[in-house]
Symmetry: C2
Subunit: 555 residues, 2 copies
Amino acid sequence: MAGKKLSVLPLGGLGEIGKNMTVIEYNGRIVVVDTGLMFPTAEMHGIDLVLPDFSYLRERAEDIEAIVLTHGHEDHVGALPYVIREIGAPPVIYGGLLTISMVRSKLDEHKLADSAPLQELPAGERVQRGPFSLELVHLAHSIPDMRGVLIGTELGSVLMTGDYKFDQTPVDGRPADIPRLAEIGREGLLLLCGDSTNADRPGVAPSESSVGPALLQQFSRCKGRIVVTSFASNIHRVQQVIDAAVKLDRKVALVGRSMRKNYNIASSLGMAEAPSGLFIQPREIEDFPDEKVVVISTGSQGEPLSALRRMANNDHRDVELHSGDTVVFSATPVPGNERAVNETIDRIYEIGATVITARDAPIHASGHGWQEELKLMLNLTKPRHVLPVHGDHKRLRLHAELAHAVGVDPDCVFQGRNGLPLEIDERGARFGEDVHAGTMFVDGLNIGDPDDAALRDRREISADGIFIVVATISSDDGSIVADPEVAFRGVAFLDEADALVDELSDLVEDTLEEAAEAGNRESHLIEEHLHDAIGKFVFQRLRRRPMILPVVVEV
Amino acid sequence: MAGKKLSVLPLGGLGEIGKNMTVIEYNGRIVVVDTGLMFPTAEMHGIDLVLPDFSYLRERAEDIEAIVLTHGHEDHVGALPYVIREIGAPPVIYGGLLTISMVRSKLDEHKLADSAPLQELPAGERVQRGPFSLELVHLAHSIPDMRGVLIGTELGSVLMTGDYKFDQTPVDGRPADIPRLAEIGREGLLLLCGDSTNADRPGVAPSESSVGPALLQQFSRCKGRIVVTSFASNIHRVQQVIDAAVKLDRKVALVGRSMRKNYNIASSLGMAEAPSGLFIQPREIEDFPDEKVVVISTGSQGEPLSALRRMANNDHRDVELHSGDTVVFSATPVPGNERAVNETIDRIYEIGATVITARDAPIHASGHGWQEELKLMLNLTKPRHVLPVHGDHKRLRLHAELAHAVGVDPDCVFQGRNGLPLEIDERGARFGEDVHAGTMFVDGLNIGDPDDAALRDRREISADGIFIVVATISSDDGSIVADPEVAFRGVAFLDEADALVDELSDLVEDTLEEAAEAGNRESHLIEEHLHDAIGKFVFQRLRRRPMILPVVVEV
């Protein structure tokens, strides 16, 4: 064991909410836990997805023993197709049954399912991969088959909790495996990497099964159609909506691609069920009386293309919201989505329909444990070292303070960041040297760096527009052989355009003539002169700095 | 009075939060109440400000008797410079003393102060302008000198509340003028246009003066430097921070341009005060021991260029935040600003400083009355008709329901929208015909339509970038006289660029040759062909639809 070192390197999920990915390394071999993504913000012009920068793994692909997935949410599995495409498939990908089924369906869409060695690892079963023993520990969350990952090495064990809560009455009757967690504590845990998402909320999260009765109570007051929106992957929530609809003798329509897809997967695994004849097709909704229908829809986050937003904007093929409908938001906005959600809600009010949110009634329960649950996890597993993960800087700090509160030695509690490996050996734990980590953007078919020129250019053009000036000069003497062409896009100057273009043409001619007289014949130099002269002129006139793109054509 | 009609036309502030502006019309004459703006969202690429579309007033400029301003907040006065510039100054602009002083300073910056007939109208004094009697009624809000506007006509009176709360212990000891409101009720009020901002909050808003003791309590626990951020216009809040600093024997530095400006105006009017020697300059902050300083800063909304954000990013000339500092957010995020505020807070946590928000302690009080206050206003003024204003559709609806609850005839409660005039005559009230209303964007020196080409182009380019192709052909026979030039900006295609540009050049040549052979010599037709051919090719290769800008130069 002399000189042996365990390293835990978070590539995402620290100092942010999303794109969770952690590299566990021992004796030159690697296990990757989760490969998550984030969704872009409005400032990321045209970017489709945000991935952790996993270039650290590029040269270490051969050393990967396994990828282990805690659960099927996008912020834990969404980057997998890109990881496989960029660095190849690992020898094995483990997860719970639902996780593996959902990931298979996702990889199918990317035409990668055949090459991916997906394998269910039942909770409590232990496998050896290289120097690692791997075991999944059943926990509760807002998706079934949530599993913590216990990674054993000669030096000791690491528990990556993934996302969890200690729900004592989960809908499927399978609470978190507290006995096993206690056992892990007795065996001695070297490091706990715990979910910090709700480290700022005192108390204990409400049980998922408390949501069903609240939904039923709200539904029973509705005279018209009921539209419920929730996360499509929250199978138990969807099940509870279905159960309430059955009790009230209403038909159910699943609307939105991911809602139908996830329900079908869960149903095929026996994790969701409905009496036969309950479901109707979205196109049949308008055929039933309003008071006989419950629609379960995607769009709880106000996504612009979601079914709910389309229904509210009278832009959905099958359903149009109207006065008398009640829209039930059985979800809360993920941080950053507040405005999109509020816009959707207000649009529904504008139509004249009614909205019920989790602020009005207890119709949502978070899937992430609150402070008392984080403390319980710490007390059960008794870790020697703690590295809070899955949270912004605030929540990582608050989670660290909870660890202090339950008696973990403050010197053994670490506030990390992406790219900073926590290294543990026989003498203790400390941060190692920063590794390149950050963000990669998916833009259409490409994966690239957020600082790449394309995105910088888009930012610049989207602020002030672009001027294109084409100057055609003689290759003999640099003289002008055609009138300059001036084009612009995204530049606000309204009525003065013609005059300004004329003046710009004159300016271009002057600049070209000066260059010809000075014997300056290098086109890139002429372009530079044009760039500066036009930029200065435009700023003087418009107080704006659009991008200036001069093109010199020699004939 | 036969045939006489009173019309109330909201140009902004309904179905949205911000840009409040209302046109009151009687007998062909007009009073405008408030001229507010909104701040742009990230989707409004490069737009500086959002104004109500007041083009309705363009041809009616001669009919305006007065503009009346309820208070000095941007969402009630910010569009005034643009209104004056576009349609000229009205005969008079009325407001409370602080409002007029703040607006004068703003118009000064626009070099418009000389042309604007600003005039203080003391609360309770009545003036006659054309067919209107005008009176300001003192109310309480998060800025001093808040005034409702009572507009009398032969047909009856309209009360525009502006923003208000019934604070029984305001910091300046001047609660809302309830006796006058009761009198207005006794006299008979034809229409109440009331603030709906907090129509969703049950109960009564906390008093502004409850914030001071809470701040003092928090401050007294701080060992290091204290940085308080709040709205610069909330003079009473700033005063309470100053008072707490005095009690704790700390110096005070005002940081941020608007913070210093607003304090200076309020101080010059005797509305704010501090013992001499209390203030230090921002550049002196680092000279004093941390435990002897309170910084009052702009940036409570996470504005990217604000003093607080700069301090947090180590980008401020005078102050750098560090571990041991406590940052106190004495404000809540305006809807839409949640992410920017959270980013700022998390950055402060990352530095190692502490953050206290209104969720942790009662260190903020809203300036807008809650449900019981809206009901009190309704009961006091006993309006025959009610038009809720200042709110999104949800809050307008909830405010209307409050009016029903206190006994206003539901047929006399109206849910309006921008551009829809409420018309009242002897027979009653009803909505008239829609008037053009909406949004105007300020973009640098220009004011324009949000749908104008510039913004559409920016949206398109910011999603997928732009390709520029220059083809130089002979004006004699259309033959190619120079190699095509292909430039692109903001297009993500990384490594393949060179190959793609070569292929594009070939494609351009082919297209030009085809055109020449077909005898097609119209350059706009050739450009159209190039546009389509390149667009199709690029989409096939990149699965993206960048803007394609072909330029044909004839030599």
